[in-house]
């Protein structure tokens, strides 16, 4: 299943990624502060809806989003 990771200390909480996600998986919860005293966004995906489309990573001005995709195993 694809997934993303938000690098909390790089995120400045500009929220440009929130409307960019087509499945609305990124939320502004304001639950924690980062090293700089800003609220980073949070990625919440309990149902595994993320498709790894990278739209959030493209619009992120701080390169604070890393996107992972599963390696497809070649059938032996």
């Amino acid at each position: 299943m694809p997934m993303i990771e938000i690098l909390d200390d790089a995120c400045k909480g500009c929220l440009l990624c929130v409307p960019a996600c087509p499945h609305e998986l990124i939320h502004n919860t304001k639950a924690k502060l980062n090293k700089r005293g800003l609220y980073p966004v949070e990625y919440v995906d309990p149902d595994g809806k993320c498709t790894g489309c990278r739209l959030c990573a493209i619009v992120c001005p701080d390169a604070a989003i890393r996107v992972y995709k599963e390696v497809k195993k070649k059938s032996a």
């Binding site: 790089a10 440009l16 960019a20 990573a57 992120c60 390169a63 995709k69 599963e70 390696v71």
Partner: protein, 268 residues
């Protein structure tokens, strides 16, 4: 491609901080498109594999910090003289790839003469022009590219064409010059346009690598702090107002012109 293992499953990283950027986090304001522009330039440099040959020129403005973030050689230059220094560096080291990163105060105000002459000489350098219609670093004064009616600290009643003139259109101005190889205007307001911008920047670097001439990409960017907007309102302002005054598109494309010449020759 990096592969990592999480809970027994192998994952490959499809998007992360490009290799041509240092680990220093950007010091720009939250939501500033300078970061996005840096990111796509670094991605293009990674894809072309020219990091070891690159020399960047950091001009004066918010863009002066770019030497902290790009992981290759950088020169900090006097205000407006980025393309003049780039000319010298390119002529001394013809194998290097020169990139200037300039804002509208630097390229369109104090450095207009340098810009026009570097373009007219057809210098083999790539210029990234970040147009946010305001002087960001000094606190929001009016720039030559400020839109009509836009309120800034030095035009508190809005820009008035009768007294101050019209917003300067650099891309349209430079495109007719014969030294220009690739001139395009792109925007940063959504993912689709950011990808288009990346393609344009790649083409601009190709123009330099293939020795075609001067290349410039004008990037419409936001300055939400000095526009007194949220980042979301800022990108909306680019989409609705900036692109209306500064039409997006390719203004000069040397490959297209060559192809047109070729077909005209074939047709006799």
């Amino acid at each position: 491609m990096d592969v990592i293992t999480i809970e027994g499953t192998e994952y490959k990283v499809v998007a992360e901080r490009p290799k041509s950027l240092t680990d220093t986090p950007f010091t720009y304001c939250p939501g500033c498109n300078h970061g996005t522009t840096h990111k796509i330039i670094a991605e293009v440099i990674d894809e072309l594999g020219i990091q070891h040959r690159c020399i960047g020129i950091a001009s004066v403005g918010c863009s002066v910090f770019s030497y902290e973030f790009f992981d290759f050689d950088f020169i900090s230059v006097p205000h407006g003289r980025a393309l003049a220094v780039a000319t010298g560096a390119k002529r001394m080291r013809p194998d290097s790839v020169l990139m200037t990163y300039q804002g509208d105060g630097d390229l369109a105000a104090i450095g207009t003469a340098e810009t026009i002459h570097a373009c007219n000489r057809g210098e083999r350098v790539t210029c990234i022009f970040v147009n946010n219609a305001i002087y960001g670093m000094t606190g929001g004064q009016m720039a030559p590219t400020t839109l009509l009616g836009m309120k800034t600290t030095t035009s508190p009643l809005g820009r008035d064409a009768k007294r101050i003139g019209w917003p300067m259109k650099m891309s349209e101005m430079l495109a007719p010059l014969q030294g220009a190889a690739y001139i395009a205007r792109v925007s940063m307001h959504d993912a689709k346009h950011i990808l288009k911008a990346k393609a344009a920047i790649k083409k601009a670097f190709r123009a330099q690598l293939e020795d075609k001439g001067f290349s410039m990409v004008e990037v419409l960017s936001n300055c939400n702090v000095n526009w007194h907007m949220t980042p979301q309102e800022g990108v909306k302002f680019i989409e609705e107002q900036m692109t209306k005054n500064f039409p997006l598109g390719v203004y000069k494309d040397v490959w297209q012109e060559e192809a047109a010449k070729q077909t005209a020759k074939e047709e006799g």
